[in-house]
């Protein structure tokens, strides 16, 4: 293990490491801690200029209650869910199939198609913006959740295919050969042999795509407007203009908006990290 495990070092080194850890963490998360502290203060503290002293009262429930019951925030959150969940299902479904085709079969153009997916996954969004917006408008899907979902599914398929194909490549190929010798139809091999083995990859991608899509802002402002279809990332700007300069409410709103991916991460940590490292770093 590198660096040398601290247990093997002197007592003084161990103690200083143990004290340094929480200090480093607090410094690292300082901007976030500041926001969390703002979100439980009463309005009076801000008008009195009491930003960092003791809060004059503890307003956790008032502030967060306002976010949930006196703003459009729940609607935006609901939109985010209705955009994110179908996207995850769609992108994972499409990419298990493309990954299977590219990972198992040898045919002309295999690598070319694979590289098309990878390259497409890295392009700047702006090169897609005008045509995708036109396409969405002319399909009558502008300012709908479906319009966003369709685009997200297509774009995420690039990244998901990269991941799935590499994962399938690492599976024992003998399993598939054995099934073929038995005369099992190709689609049944996909369904009954490969798919069950892909569960960890599916879990990793699902968590990762959930976070990516939940956090998307660019496409939300290009393809939607207003609380009917906008997800929470775009909605938070309207929320902030509703509560201009009321930092206690804006802080609470941002924390609420950021929460779902955070919970997802803490619940599914192992899958999440497996996904992030693209399976390439083991």
């Amino acid at each position: 293990m590198f660096p040398t495990p601290i247990e093997k070092r002197s007592r003084a080194a161990q103690i200083s490491y143990q004290t340094l850890l929480p200090i480093a963490l607090i410094l690292w998360l300082l901007p976030l801690i500041a926001v969390a502290l703002f979100s439980i203060r009463p309005l009076a503290d801000f008008t009195n200029g009491n930003y960092w002293g003791m809060p004059s009262s503890f307003e956790f429930f008032t502030n967060y209650g306002k976010v949930f019951f006196e703003s459009d925030m729940p609607r935006y959150m609901w939109n985010s869910i209705l955009i994110t969940v179908p996207t995850v299902i769609g992108a994972v479904a499409l990419s298990t199939m493309t990954g299977f085709a590219l990972g198992i079969y040898r045919f002309k153009g295999n690598l070319l198609i694979f590289f098309m997916f990878i390259a497409g996954n890295f392009v700047p969004f702006q090169i897609l913006m005008v045509p995708v917006r036109d396409l969405t408008v002319s399909a009558g899907l502008y300012d709908t959740k479906l319009g966003l979902v369709l685009f997200h599914v297509a774009f995420q398929t690039g990244f998901c295919t990269l991941f799935m194909r590499n994962f399938i490549r690492a599976l024992p190929f003998e399993l598939i050969e054995a099934a073929r010798v038995e005369g099992v139809a190709e689609w049944r091999i996909f369904w009954f042999v490969v798919l069950p083995l892909m569960k960890p990859a599916i879990a990793a991608l699902a968590v990762l795509i959930f976070t990516f899509i939940w956090n998307d802002y660019f496409w939300a402002i290009v393809l939607t407007q207003g609380p009917d279809a906008q997800p929470v990332t775009a909605g938070i700007t309207s929320f902030n203009s509703q509560f201009v300069a009321q930092y206690h409410l804006m802080s609470a709103g941002s924390i609420v908006a950021a929460l779902p991916p955070v919970m997802m991460f803490f619940l599914m940590q192992r899958h999440f990290i497996a996904g992030l490292t693209l399976g390439a770093v083991k």
Partner: protein, 303 residues
């Protein structure tokens, strides 16, 4: 009856070609409609003067000629260079934190998760959090500076500082990402090689450079890929924190394109597309390099 048999045998004969094509069809179709063909269309639109609604007039390379003398474009391009150069600091910073956290003391798992945590939050919220952190009166940064007896700064209001302030905000989640890549990589470092290095008298930085880093190469590669792409894609933070200002000093190409094509500054789809094409070509250099490295790995794996 006989038609059915020939049909079946045709499928039987070609099933190793037909099956993958059928599996690919839906994914490729989606991808071509929403990603590949828009790229080509954008190249085409960049040759027109078009407001997105009325007639488009063909003007050849007119948009590109205009870019050459556009001061705002120059500032955006220059800011992109700053982003790229400074964003790469996330890679060594991530490595540094990973080395710091790669221990087995009690509770270290929670520490690792909490250090990683900024990456999970949306860039919109990161942008808000940092713009409040920088606020001249209410912000924690200036509260700390005052506490230390220093002058206060209005980072986002100062055209010379604003871009750096935004990049710093961007480095926060990006460093967390690189950290997790390196933590995973460090887990897989071969203990025997470390032992062999120790016997050869390698320690500290020399050990890191000669023994550890070569083994972390896959992690470093991905860290560079995601950081470069992330730097050139930066949009959310700028839009949230300064909206391009003060005086357009924090624009980057991605943001300037959006402004030109789709905001109160007018709907110049052709001009916007020309900016997008420039950004695309810059990124293409990196994409080509990534694909080439991956292609080499593929060839090696096949051997």
């Amino acid at each position: 009856m006989s038609a059915a048999t020939t049909q079946r045998s045709w499928y039987q004969r070609n099933k190793m070609t037909v099956t993958p094509l059928l599996f690919l069809l839906p994914g490729v179709l989606f991808f071509v409609i929403y990603v590949i063909s828009p790229i080509i269309q954008s190249f085409n639109i960049s040759l027109y003067d078009w407001d997105g609604l009325g007639e488009a007039t063909y003007i050849g390379l007119g948009n590109y000629e205009e870019l050459l003398t556009d001061r705002a474009f120059e500032i955006s391009l220059w800011n992109n260079v700053k982003w790229l150069a400074l964003y790469l600091l996330a890679v060594p910073a991530g490595l540094f934190i990973a080395l710091f956290l790669n221990q087995t003391v009690v509770g270290i798992r929670l520490y690792k998760s909490l250090f990683f945590f900024p990456f999970v939050i949306s860039q919109v919220v990161v942008g808000l959090v940092f713009s409040w952190f920088y606020l001249p009166r209410e912000g924690l940064l200036n509260a700390l500076l005052t506490f230390l007896g220093l002058d206060t700064v209005n980072i986002l209001g100062d055209p010379t500082l604003a871009t750096y302030g935004i990049i710093a905000a961007g480095l926060w989640p990006q460093t967390a990402y690189c950290m997790i890549l390196y933590l995973t990589g460090l887990n897989a470092v071969d203990p025997e090689q470390i032992e062999a290095g120790r016997l050869d008298g390698a320690k500290g930085v020399r050990m890191l450079w000669h023994v550890i880093l070569p083994q972390l190469k896959p992690a470093t590669f991905i860290a560079f890929v995601v950081t470069i792409i992330g730097a050139l894609r930066s949009f959310d933070l700028i839009s949230i924190m300064t909206n391009g200002g003060p005086f357009g000093s924090t624009r980057v190409l991605s943001f300037y394109m959006f402004e030109k094509a789709l905001s109160e500054y007018g709907f110049r789809m052709g001009y916007g597309s020309a900016i997008a094409v420039v950004l695309f070509l810059i990124m293409l250099v990196f994409i080509a390099y990534f694909l080439w490295s991956m292609y080499r790995d593929e060839q090696e794996a096949r051997r």
